[in-house]
């Protein structure tokens, strides 16, 4: 029964695994110290003129990303869990191109020691943002992404017509 079932929450995710050649404490600090986060957060060429992180459960996240063309992308979030140095869970608002909140994303990052290295697993899934929102919002598991890649290829050809 691969099809026809509503998949469980856990499977509806974007999952990114990385192994960093750095001790776990250092990786964790790179995620929770605002000065450090500001140095890597965002795509290539982006800076973070505002980066405020209150890394404790219930603490706020406020980051203003600035793109190479000068456009500022504000982002806000709230920490749900902060377990030093192994686990971070936070919600953040996904914004559209005009800065309107679309829905919330729940991000879980775990850090495991692997000798002198650190294995980091980042999981992100879309969660309900408002009571009026669709009864159940999708996540972004690998299969979903693959379908989307195929579909976006279709879209790309379609939009040229």
């Amino acid at each position: 029964m691969a099809t026809g079932n509503i998949m469980g929450n856990e499977e509806q995710e974007l999952v990114l695994t990385r192994v960093f050649d750095a001790p776990r404490e250092l990786v964790f600090k790179a995620w929770t110290d605002p000065k450090r986060v500001a140095q890597w957060w965002g795509p290539q060429g982006f800076t973070n003129p505002v980066c405020e992180l209150d890394a404790r459960p219930g603490g706020a996240i406020r980051i203003h990303m600035r793109g190479p063309d000068g456009t500022v992308y504000p982002m806000t979030g709230v920490y749900q869990e902060v377990v030093e140095p192994e686990r971070l869970v936070f919600t953040s608002a996904a914004l559209d191109e005009k800065g309107h909140p679309l829905f919330e994303v729940l991000t879980t990052v775990t850090f495991a020691e692997q000798g002198a290295k650190t294995k980091q697993i980042l999981r992100a899934r879309v969660i309900k943002s408002t009571a009026q929102a669709a009864p159940y919002l999708a996540g972004m598991e690998a299969g979903w992404t693959q379908s989307l890649e195929r579909l976006s290829a279709f879209v790309a050809t379609k939009s040229k017509e």
Binding site: I6, R18, L102, F103, T130, A133, A134, L137, S152
Partner: protein
């Protein structure tokens, strides 16, 4: 609440189900009737119709009114919004984590140079 977000939410909700994604993938190759769409799935026609209704409400498909068998067609626009968002989101994390990797390398190199780092291989 801005209208655009409702559209994207509805699209995402419709895409949350693997059967509906399979239906869309099938329709990406051309229009099909409900019977044709139901064929690969061990599902009743009403069950398939329910999925089609969800897809139709989300604006992902349109159904012909002209014929009794009402062929289904895929609509590209809402998928484009989702694909754009997913692409942006993936790019954000992939590039951020690349930069984190660089940052961790740099910081350790500096620590070593200034000699106030912790012992390596403690």
């Amino acid at each position: 609440m801005p209208e655009a977000s409702d559209h994207l939410s509805a699209t995402l909700a419709a895409l949350a189900d693997p059967t509906r994604r399979a239906i869309l993938a099938r329709l990406a190759t051309g229009q099909a009737t409900v019977t044709e769409l139901a064929a690969p799935f061990a599902m009743t026609m009403p069950a398939v119709s329910r999925h089609l209704k969800v897809l139709e409400r989300a604006g992902l498909i349109t159904r012909g009114r002209e014929a009794q068998w009402r062929p289904c067609r895929i609509t590209a626009a809402p998928l484009k919004d989702v694909a754009n968002w997913v692409a942006r989101y993936q790019r954000f994390w992939t590039e951020s984590l690349d930069r984190l990797d660089d940052y961790l390398r740099d910081v350790q190199k500096k620590e070593k140079k200034h000699g106030h780092g912790k012992h390596h291989g403690k």
